[in-house]
């Protein structure tokens, strides 16, 4: 697998390091539908200019809250609709029930839309679908953001399900991975800040022999309590 050179930046900004995977922070709750076409064109152009995969911020597409990914050739390489909504969005958007994982030369990518990261079922589903990289695109009202939202979101997903998790929101960015892969054992490859960048190879995730993997399940336990799951 090739090295991922990741940057999380404000839309259209130059990444701080040479990058092959760029994630835009959302500077608004969602790019409105009427602006979607222009936004798409700019993303395509940016992806071609940078020669990188580009993940958009939150977008309203046909009344679904979505995140999209463009390849270095400017073509759409993936898109995901939200499965769960934050309180303010519940009446605004339609809900999807499908989850997909998209292959790239750097690993399989799951585009996690806003509040979906707080669903352990979504995390598990993505893991079982083969996701190695999770991009968490979020928007937080100012009064609802603190670092615990990253711990319980992208950081927690990385520890529990052995992901590389990229958190991008209007308050900042962070890049998280299982703590044994980080130099200081914090689980942060790039600590929460205004932007984030790092270089990582997802094959390292397979080298981490943590004591638990999301692929080891107790089937008898599930059968015994199936009505509660």
């Amino acid at each position: 697998m090739q090295d991922l050179m990741i940057s999380v930046v404000d839309a259209w900004e130059q990444p701080p390091i040479q990058s092959n995977f760029i994630v835009f922070k959302s500077d608004q709750p969602a790019v409105p539908m009427q602006e979607g076409g222009d936004y798409f064109q700019k993303c395509k152009r940016y992806a071609r200019e940078q020669g990188a995969y580009v993940v958009t911020g939150l977008m309203n597409i046909a009344d679904f809250l979505c995140v999209c990914m463009f390849g270095p050739n400017g073509k759409l390489a993936g898109a995901q609709r939200a499965l769960f909504y934050e309180q303010n969005n519940r009446e605004l958007y339609k809900k999807s029930s499908n989850l997909a994982v998209f292959p790239t030369p750097y690993g399989k990518v799951f585009l996690c839309v806003d509040a979906d990261i707080y669903s352990p079922e979504v995390q598990r589903y993505a893991r079982l679908a083969g996701a190695e990289v999770v991009v968490c695109a979020q928007w937080f009202p100012a009064e609802r953001y603190n670092e615990a939202r990253i711990w319980t979101g992208a950081w927690g997903a990385a520890q529990t399900n052995n992901f590389l998790a990229i958190a991008a929101n209007n308050n900042g960015a962070a890049i998280c991975a299982p703590y044994l892969t980080s130099i200081d054992n914090t689980g942060y490859l790039s600590k929460p800040g205004q932007t984030a960048s790092t270089i990582f190879n997802v094959s390292r995730l397979m080298e981490i022999h943590s004591d638990y993997f999301s692929s080891q399940f107790n089937r008898k336990l599930f059968a015994a309590h199936r009505d509660l799951l």
């Binding site: 309180q87 999807s96 989850l99 994982v101 509040a115 707080y118 679908a129 083969g130 939202r149 703590y179």
Partner: protein, 351 residues
Amino acid sequence: MKLSFSNPFALKGSEKKIIKAIDRLAIDRSDNLSFLDPAAVRVAAAPIKLRPYRKLDDFVEHLNEKMAAAVGGGAQLVCFPELIGLAPITLSPHYARLLADYRACPAKERGQLVNDALYDHYDYLQETYFTSFSELACQYGVYVLAGSLYLFEGDCLYNRAYLFDPDGDIVAYQDKLNPTRDELEFGVDAGEALTLMQTRIGNLCVAIGQDNCYFEIYRIARGLGAKLMLAPVCNLNFGCRLPHAADVYLRVQETPLYAVKSALTGDLMQRHFGGVSGVYAPIPTAADKQGLLAASGNEVERPLTCRVNLNKLDAVFDPFSCDDNPEFLSAFAARHYDAADAAPAGGEDEL
């Protein structure tokens, strides 16, 4: 490779010695359970840092130190760490030879060696465990989650935790549902169900060690009616520099429960154990809006006692996880819980 000593270790009369040792402590029975209010349940994590024991009294006194501190702080329930039942193995006169055998043993045979050692010491370890914790629970008049021990039942070996009531009787037990790789190598079998334990302070479940890495167990506990999860652990996420944000803390954010985590630290059987202990709550219920009600540093042994309000769990509201998606959850459950093996999900979304 077999153990180099052939006689099973039996510390004769350990039950009587333990009872005598506890009687000498002249424990005053507490009245912590005289007032019961789900809005004011006092729980304690009693982490243990292993120390060399020269005699049984040392082990009993070590446990009593933690009990006295926790109960003195008002605890109605005290949670000891995983595998505390294994600690008295250091008192075996064969312990040094056991360690030597372990070091000399080829890696692929160590599992069987450990299994043999547990079998040979079984009578002594389980007698010490049951007598010590039953007596302490009864003398102090509180509930005690007696960590866990390795216990043989027929042909099976379990990592099992027992809850003792204030009369010293067993309320229920819980087997570890997800043994570690090391445990699988020396023959530990996984438990098959989660048990709801009903007490006068409320309903609770127990998740041992890395069981706390699986959200399903917390979902099941909540579904059974538990409001409190007891998490005896040993070496869980040891080394993580944000230990309080891992495992148990994450689980109670996903599924609204209070959780008490108690860690075993120190050296045992050629392994060094570390970790933190704490009491955790869903963020919306916590005054600090972080969800960390009490916390210890790595390998710190001080018991943590705090009050939890079980009634708050009925009205937990998190704006980021208040939504439902029955169609997705149903599809997920069918793939994940009903599948014969962990088949990948797959599927493409279209715009």
